[in-house]
């Protein structure tokens, strides 16, 4: 190396520029018309086994690779035929009979028979994986002939058909899976050894099959050449791990991705250029604050009046504006907007005078301190830390001092189920279309998850017996009566003031102008088979 080499930064710059030009870094080689569709998203995959995995990206993959008995139409309400061409339900909603489509076949060309469906649903139940709860209450699964499947329930369950549309209910090619270690018997939880196999293979009848998967990097599916329904337009789809919303937007703008799925409202505003379309879609996801009257660290008793005062102190409009700008909407009850029972509910409003009045009646006009612990995370574009700072400000106006403490998700989970957390914040997204899941999860029903977290053991008066009765009625009711019953349930849950929804953030789907058919599905997140490229 001589002196000139050492000091000539200018030459170095030119050399670098020359090398870059020589390499042609400005563009990629021409791609075929049916080039792979790239989706930039933060993958949260915890398994590619449809009976073990449970995540948003899992919903996309499972619904692409594994057809279910019934599907959910574009209106996110109507059930559509898939593997089952027709179905009947007995009068008291306890026996569900499905007739399989004789044309239905797996990706290896073999016909789907009732034994495959029986095997798949029994595996889902016996594996005791994350989505096994979907089989709660299933008494028996019978296959009287090759084209008929009969599912009997312990108790009426008018939502079971909606649950069958959940992607975790996908039908697996039992012969192929069993040959690779899968088990469906009563001992499946210990006998099944197929999870690793499912990371590299699929055995379904969906429009796509698994091409490859590299954890934390990419999931690649290719068109199922033997698909028995309308073949998807795209030959290959790649879900590319992109954690950061800004990076997702940049990938979209630079052409490296075709769809960016988790862009938040603020980032969406920065997306420029005529080749990109940004769609804001109301979602069924929401973020809520929750109160636990039975939490050990409560400094005062969180009576119904105090809970109502806290709810009345919150500036809902301001919270939405503060967290997601204009890309979100208020949600009155734990049943999300658009689900049965959510019509015409009273919108939550800030009423500081009422909040102060209620606190005064409770002898707390001088205020009190409350522990506010929450997961330190950004979910659906909402930064929970920021949101809780605004909650803190709102509560301060009625002399309630919220002591904020962000936690890792695992620690939060341990605390909320342990000694309880007086005031917390978290999120929810549906697993299928149906309101019962929200009632079962959020209502103050004995043994319900949030009834436990709210401290029903220490504060038994939070249990609302009417909710249990209404739920039973709703699950046994014919379709035309369900809406009213779920609305009554929503009103009861509003009255509970344990779960206080703050915002239902819109889903922002940003994609290239040439990409068509991008839509949000309540069961399946993003149906890949409906997407095409102009």
């Amino acid at each position: 190396m001589n002196r000139r080499d050492l000091i000539s930064g200018r030459h170095l710059g030119w050399a670098l520029a020359g090398a870059m030009l020589a390499m042609g870094v400005g563009g990629l080689p021409a791609m075929a018309q049916d080039k792979p569709l790239v989706i930039a998203r933060n993958m949260d995959i915890n398994s590619l086994d449809p009976h073990r995995g449970f995540c948003d990206t899992c919903q996309i993959y499972f619904s692409a690779a594994y057809d279910t008995l019934v599907g959910l139409g574009p209106d996110n309400k109507t059930l559509t035929p898939k593997v089952a061409s027709s179905w009947t339900v007995n009068e008291n909603q306890t026996v569900f009979t499905f007739k399989l489509d004789p044309k239905a076949k797996f990706s290896d060309g073999t016909a789907i028979e009732a034994k495959d469906v029986k095997w798949s649903l029994e595996r889902l139940k016996n594996l005791k994986g994350s989505p096994a709860f979907l089989m709660d209450g299933v008494k028996s699964i019978e296959a009287p002939d090759a084209q008929t499947i009969v599912i009997s329930m312990d108790a009426p369950n008018s939502e079971f058909l909606g649950m069958v549309a959940a992607p975790y209910m996908g039908v697996i090619n039992s012969k192929v899976a069993a040959a690779n270690g899968a088990a469906a018997g009563a001992d499946a939880a210990t006998a099944d050894k197929a999870e690793a196999w499912f990371l590299a293979n699929s055995a379904g009848s969906g429009p796509f099959t698994l091409a490859s998967y590299r954890a934390d990097d990419e999931l690649r599916v290719k068109r199922n050449g033997a698909y028995w329904r309308t073949a998807p337009a795209l030959s290959e789809v790649v879900i590319k791990q992109t954690k950061d919303a800004v990076a997702q937007a940049q990938m979209l703008q630079s052409g490296a991705a075709d769809i960016a799925m988790q862009v938040d409202g603020e980032t969406a505003k920065t997306i420029k250029g005529g080749d990109v379309v940004v769609n804001t879609i109301p979602s069924y996801n929401y973020v809520y604050v929750a109160l636990s009257p039975g939490a050990k660290s409560n400094t005062v008793k969180l009576t119904p009046e105090v809970r109502e005062a806290i709810a009345a102190a919150l500036d809902y409009k301001g919270l939405i504006e503060f967290t997601v700008g204009d890309a979100g909407r208020p949600q009155p009850s734990p049943i999300p907007n658009g689900f049965p029972g959510s019509d015409n509910l009273p919108e939550p409003k800030q009423d500081l005078a009422r909040a102060k009045d209620l606190l005064a009646k409770a002898g707390l006009d001088k205020g009190f301190e409350i522990d506010a612990r929450f997961p330190n995370m950004n979910v659906y574009g909402v930064d929970l830390s920021q949101m809780m700072q605004k909650v803190q400000q709102d509560l301060a106006k009625v002399n309630i001092k919220a002591k904020l403490q962000p936690l890792t998700f695992t620690v939060w989970r341990e605390q909320v189920s342990g000694d309880g957390i007086p005031l917390t914040a978290v999120f929810y997204a549906p697993d299928y279309y149906g309101s019962a899941q929200y009632v079962q999860y959020f209502a103050m029903i004995q043994g319900g998850p949030w009834a436990k977290r709210a401290g029903a053991a220490n504060a038994p008066d939070i249990i609302n017996p009417r909710e249990g009765d209404l739920l039973k009625q709703a699950l046994a009711a014919p379709a035309d009566q369900q809406n009213k019953l779920y609305r009554d349930l929503a009103l009861e849950m509003i009255k509970d003031k344990i779960i206080i929804p703050v915002v239902s953030p819109d889903m922002i789907m940003a994609h290239g102008k040439a990409i068509k058919g991008v839509r949000y599905s309540a069961c399946c997140n993003l149906p890949l088979d409906e997407i095409s490229r102009n």
Binding site: M20, C55, A132, F133, D216, Q241
Partner: protein
Amino acid sequence: MLRYLVRRLVTMPLLLLGIVTIAFALSNLTKGDPLISIIGERQMDNPEIVAAAKARWGLDRPLPERYLRYVGNLVQGDLGISLRTKQPVAKDLMTRLPATLELVLAAMVVGVGGGILLGVIAARYRNRAADHAARFVALIGSALPVFWSGLLLLFVFSVLLGWLPGPGRLDARLTPPPGVTGFYTIDALLAGDFTTFRLALTHLILPACVLGWAVMGIISRLVRSSMLDVLAQDYILAARAKGASGPRVLVNHALRNAMIPTLTIIGFSFAYLITGAVLTETIFSWPGIGSYTVDAARSLDYPAIMGVTIVGGSAFLLTNLVTDIAYAVVDPRVKLG
């Protein structure tokens, strides 16, 4: 030297066992339940699902039994199965390690090469425009947070100018080259696929510059300071008096001696870059060890945390050894023993 080497290599497994024991205790005594990453938050209220998951992953066993089982498996080269990815940790690490090493080595070239160059220029032209410019570049590199400079450079060079590709090791529409070394650039060359080589190289430029820039600042300041000390020594004057050319004095006499303290920093830089890769990997969607570590820690994925700790600990011990040996090679006055 040989005896020294043997002694260090013999003590290394004992040190590693200590690291394993401490890491196992810390990760298992941390608050939180790793089951969430296996069965999801909502199923944690279902005792049947929780019990099945605990039994499957051995989390129902007492801690000492789990420790002994872990060490027993470790001796046989089994790092366990990741609770999060559901794949063997060894396989996860083997997949991600080359990605991180490729990035870190490229960043070392940028950081060390650039740092030495800037340091020499700054020392040679002390208090002149070139010195100020070199120090400014170094200062910016040290001061800017990686997540900010990464996003900024991505926006400028990828989105605005379109000169360089966006995040990722390769365009998602392409299939990676057949894995031999796991380094996309080398594997593409081995496969004779120059298009993929070119694309892999261009994908490497931005993250390597972002990651290397921070190290460049540290090294250039150290080189400058060492060079100024050395340039003031009598033997430099003597070399000049004997008629040695300017560049010869600068490189052969001054730089070689100024490199001794720098070598320590270069050794530590490697470890720094490995750990510093976390943010860079996140911003650039680079599927390496850094992002794997963060995800493992967040989900309390014990086997993965342990695997990363063992690999990191081994790398640190080896780097220290190599640095010590390099001292002796560069400076004959240093005696190992």
